[in-house]
Symmetry: C2
Subunit: 433 residues, 2 copies
């Protein structure tokens, strides 16, 4: 394994940015790739997708199959060289994807080839999958999604936690991701800090949300709450989290779900992944009114997406608890302290209490992830594709209203039903503009 220090060298000497011709020549000499694509390299089709925020992404197709090839650039692709970002993120992404692939092989793309020097990974091409967020904007329903995503979260989080790992293995794992701080810093700044203060990169649907944005910049209860969440993100090494688990990092068909892009992975609070997902489902719900073509034409979708919020938490909790009951090989909660029937019963009560604490974290992080997408730098198409800005702002204001309550009154949300009930109430709230 590459050490953290090596991986952090931002531009290893063998690194070069590949154009289409370079990539073709490079892949032609990579046996795992040629086996996958088949035929002659000269006839492979290679297309740079052009929609990565951070990286180059090529779709490569041959007679036998296809690949997605992702190469990290030494800067943020969307912004350019003025925003440098270390190539080491490709190393951490590969490490995380390997971990996830071991635990949930059907739910992530298979790795075909990884080149640390080029910060390049070739993966199974996901076809005909689409980015889930696009499907949600279109009002599509994914009946298999809850089962898949909760399996992904429960397994990747549980098996990297103190409930499954020895303390020594966990400390080594924490250290192996410690170098990924540039990516963590993006989260720390853009999610937990900038939306709550004047920051050049912030934007929102003006002029409608001007007042709300100003109120949030002055809401000190909210600033305390988000600072506590940030502290948890900085200091709670609970499990290997994906770190960016929104609906743009998930590719779906009616029957399949694949989680991609774990380059923000590190040992952090589990609630951050759960909250990221819940937040993005809730935003799909609030944005839905903005995509309504005829009155009620999104009703089935909205009912489904809110039910999915409910079920994502419930099924995740069930599966996590089930793993804990069956595969508790870690150093936390040693079984020897809970012997016999009485011990088992008491431990079960504590498991429920543990999940209740995790739920509280998830509620807080849900709120943080909503607020950053509406008032911070990075927005999402759920809202952005609502062309009428007043209509869009109405949807966004409703989401912000829920988020503010979730973050400041977290303790009053003791069940996922309380969250979806509050979401349903906010859905019909009319902001005063």
């Amino acid at each position: 394994m590459t050490t953290s220090a090596e991986a952090r060298q931002s531009t290893p000497s063998d690194y070069r940015i590949l154009n289409e011709t370079d990539l073709r020549n490079y892949l032609a000499e990579t046996p795992a790739v040629t086996a996958q694509l088949g035929g002659s390299a000269d006839h492979w089709s290679i297309t740079e997708v052009g929609d990565g925020n951070l990286n180059l992404v090529f779709i490569v197709k041959g007679p036998s199959g296809g690949l997605a090839v992702k190469q990290a650039l030494p800067y943020v692709r969307l912004v350019g060289e003025s925003w440098p970002l270390p190539l080491s993120r490709a190393h951490y992404e590969h490490l995380a994807l390997t971990h996830q692939g071991r635990l949930a092989p059907a739910l992530v793309p298979a790795i075909v080839h990884h080149d640390p020097a080029l910060a390049l990974t070739a993966m199974e091409l996901l076809e005909p999958h689409i980015i889930m967020r696009k499907g949600l904007v279109a009002g599509s329903i994914y009946p298999a999604f809850t089962d898949h995503i909760t399996t992904f979260m429960a397994r990747t989080l549980f098996f990297s936690s103190d409930l499954a790992l020895s303390a020594a293995a966990k400390k080594d794992a924490i250290a192996s991701f410690a170098g990924n701080h540039a990516l963590c810093k993006i989260t720390e700044d853009l999610i937990f800090t900038d939306p709550y203060r004047v920051a050049e990169q912030n934007r929102w649907t003006a002029p409608w949300l001007d007042r709300t944005a100003a109120e949030i910049r002055e809401d000190l209860d909210l600033h305390v709450a988000v600072s506590r969440l940030k502290l948890k993100f900085l200091s709670s090494a609970e499990a290997l989290i994906h770190g960016d688990l929104h609906t743009g990092s998930i590719m779906v068909t009616d029957t399949e779900t694949k989680v991609i892009d774990p380059e923000f992975a590190f040992y952090g609070p589990m609630g951050f992944d759960v909250g990221a997902l819940l937040a993005n489902l809730l935003m799909a719900y609030f944005a839905s009114a903005g995509h309504e073509q005829t009155p009620g034409n999104r009703e089935v979708f909205e009912t489904w997406v809110l039910a999915t919020v409910d079920q994502v938490w419930s099924a995740f909790a069930d599966e996590f608890l089930s793993l804990w009951r069956k595969e508790a090989t870690g150093d936390a909660y040693p079984p020897s302290l809970f012997p016999g029937e009485a011990g088992a019963a008491r431990l079960e009560v504590e498991r429920q209490a543990y999940m209740a604490r995790l739920f509280q974290d998830a509620v807080g992080f849900t709120a943080a992830k909503i607020i950053r997408r509406i008032l911070g730098l990075a927005h999402n198409i759920d809202f952005e594709q609502i062309e009428d800005t007043k209509r869009r702002a109405t949807c966004e204001a409703r989401a912000l209203r829920l988020a503010r309550t979730l973050m400041v009154e977290t303790a009053s949300f003791t069940s996922i039903e309380a969250v979806t009930r509050a979401a349903r109430e906010s859905r019909y709230w009319r902001p005063g503009f």
Copy 2:
């Protein structure tokens, strides 16, 4: 800096256990040492102290000065080769001592020389300091102690926390201590696990405490509480903690305080250090009745030691808060989110809430540290030197009674005065044997 992986090699090829002659020859060729000791190496006096639980400790004296030389053995000295322990602990101790020496130079021994290959460190000889625990058993009072130890704790903890460090620097620091898992494992087993179950190494003052020990092994509320503390120890990377901050790791005179032996150091919960200290002061208080020669002859000492418990927390909290107000250079609680007078006032309220949460942690860890010293493997002379076993067990039972309450009803202890009040009540409790 030696990398974590290098330091973990348990027996580097240049390692050898030094006898007195080896050490003399080795030190004679070490300029920093010869400068400190003066004269001819042939005439230095070298004595192996023989009281280290884990390591060899030599006192070396020359005409100009003295040194303490500590060499790690590849096993636990007290037990022998049947209990291997990696030499890397000398590396982590040196790293921690360097950190502490930078932040609290008057409060730790100065390092004169460190040899990673030999797992050896030569330090300033502390004379006429004695191990504080011995002084407490003798009923001595240390008026300067509170001020010193709270400065040590506040500065070493604050400046390694997210309140002072950037997230990147903190992650690197966490990684640099991640390899110290063998020492952490000792804590995990001996403090958070074994005293609560049947374990070969457990011992207690039989037959008097047989029933109490059995009750604690069956007390499921206590097992849940200690498991939560263990989980915090495993997953809360709050600051670089000493990891073994009891009164046997502190050397004192009337006017000086030196903290030694930080080989258990790693990034863990701050409350563990605070709790270790409070627990050991409370044990000195409970043991005092057992050292009473004439009725009331320890009253002044007991009043002082309980007042010290009060003041240690209060002064620590004051100093930590003062550092936070003046030197908050870390990524947590960004000042830009708390602008103006209203922001400053709200942040101050949150600082108090932060300290209240830290206090809760400290109360729990205090309890864990008391219980392990009475029912686990490692006992302390506070109690052990009370020869009459019934008298000793009475003192121990009182301490256990307090500890049980502190751990299970932690939330009801909202101030240090509540803790000392409960201690005073337990001091006169008569166990039913």
